[in-house]
């Protein structure tokens, strides 16, 4: 029999644990945005070695499963003498991984700008730096917003993996809850509902942004 009591009772502790999920995702995307911008700049830079390094960065981080990256960082940090809390390692890994995807989102947004935009700016005698700051970036950032919201949704889901390094976010908390109540079905369904609620809110935000941009 499905135990509705266990199901409803699970929400309390799981929502409390959701602050870690949210924190990891938000910090992940925040730091990821900064690193992603640098990587994107690297890929578009005139220096070939920088371009190659940035391309390698993107290809490696997109090619390796996040779970493997997490364990690698988690085990690697103490070996190189950095004793940081698991939470910091987790946020760092998620952010690094996100930076690869974010840099591609920005690169795509910049590439999607019509060539005429820079040509028009050049035609009135604007210098390249001003062209970037005043014409290209403002448009590219706005255009990339829905994709970035989508990336945030992916991070919320991906953050479930940090449960393997012991951080008590939604998934880890639901494992603990399932172990004490012996009712995994109810508990994991409750966890799924919380993820769904977070992501539906984000998806609504994304659609709202897209609609505003269309105007």
């Amino acid at each position: 029999m499905f135990s509705w009591t266990t199901y409803w009772d699970s929400f309390g502790p799981l929502i409390w644990a959701a602050r870690y999920t949210v924190a990891i995702s938000v910090m992940g995307i925040g730091i990821g945005l900064v690193i992603g911008a640098l990587v994107c700049a690297g890929r578009l830079s005139p220096w070939i070695w920088l371009r190659r390094f940035a391309a390698l960065w993107v290809s490696f981080l997109r090619g390796v499963p996040l779970l493997v990256q997490l364990l690698l960082v988690y085990y690697l940090l103490p070996v190189i003498g950095l004793n940081v809390p698991a939470m910091a390692a987790a946020v760092f890994t998620v952010a690094i991984c996100a930076s690869a995807y974010i840099s591609e989102i920005w690169r795509g947004a910049i590439a999607a700008l019509p060539k005429g935009q820079t040509e028009a700016a050049a035609a009135i005698g604007m210098d390249p730096v001003t062209q970037w700051l005043r014409i290209i970036l403002p448009q590219a950032v706005v255009m990339s917003l829905p994709a970035l919201v989508n990336e945030l949704i992916l991070l919320v889901k991906a953050s479930s993996l940090v449960s393997v390094v012991g951080i008590l976010e939604i998934t880890r908390a639901s494992q603990a809850q399932a172990a004490t109540t012996f009712r995994p079905l109810e508990v994991y369904l409750a966890a799924a509902c919380i993820y769904l609620a977070i992501n539906l809110c984000l998806a609504m935000l994304g659609r709202w942004l897209e609609k505003r941009m269309a105007v």
Binding site: F60, L67, V68, Q69, V156, T171, A192, Y195, N199
Partner: protein
């Protein structure tokens, strides 16, 4: 080093085989299910479409790991008892199907109305239109996204190790635990996946180029 490899080689090989197996079967099944979902969404009654929409949103809104837990640990409570490997494959199928459905849907939407109308105008029946026009054109335009998502699924297979499917990551984890060489083993695993994904995407791109050759308008 050689000693280590002799000891763990067979386990790693069987883990690799298991990864490929789960990935291949899971991809084929979820692609098939996704195609069916997309076709049903296109032609079925409003309320059926609505139910499928809910399914797609729920699966896409929740993490794969949690879905696996519901299936593997929660399933037995409602009589669904699956061993790790079948559970992993069923999980991959369910997880991948809505993404594939969306890919097929946008592929179908990219087929211009006119090409469908031209078929209607000469009196082609709907199944023939699907088989001869909608599928061939829709699939070709969906191809890059299909390849891309299949690659994403290769990476998702490592998550199966958490529910003890004896795939590559699981074997590497055991090897690490027994030798205490966590860094080296995980690094090797990372490099392996990197190479795998690069190779698959390169092959995929060449395949796409060949299939779409005659569709490109001349320069």
């Amino acid at each position: 080093m050689i000693e280590v490899f002799r000891q763990y080689g067979p386990a790693l090989l069987s883990g690799f085989a298991m990864t490929v197996f789960c990935w291949f079967v899971g991809t084929v099944l979820s692609m098939g299910l996704g195609l069916i979902l997309a076709l049903v969404q296109r032609y079925a009654a409003r309320w059926v479409q609505w139910i499928l929409r809910v399914y797609i949103e729920v699966i896409r809104g929740t993490p794969f790991l949690v879905q696996l837990f519901v299936l593997y640990y929660g399933g037995p409570m409602v009589g669904v008892m699956l061993d790790p490997v079948p559970a992993g494959i069923v999980g991959l199928t369910i997880y991948g199907s809505p993404y594939f459905a969306e890919i097929f849907r946008s592929g179908f939407n990219s087929v211009s109305r006119g090409q469908i109308e031209a078929a209607r105008a000469i009196g082609m029946a709907e199944p023939a239109i699907v088989g001869r026009i909608l599928l061939p054109l829709g699939l070709v335009s969906a191809l890059p996204a299909l390849v891309n998502f299949s690659i994403i699924l290769t990476k998702e297979t490592v998550i199966l190790s958490i529910v003890t499917v004896p795939e590559l990551m699981y074997q590497v984890g055991r090897m690490g635990a027994e030798t205490f060489r966590f860094v080296e083993t995980n690094l090797a695993l990372a490099l392996f996946f990197w190479a795998l994904v690069e190779v698959i995407s390169r092959v995929g791109r060449r395949f796409e180029a060949r299939l779409t050759q005659h569709l490109n308008t001349r320069a």
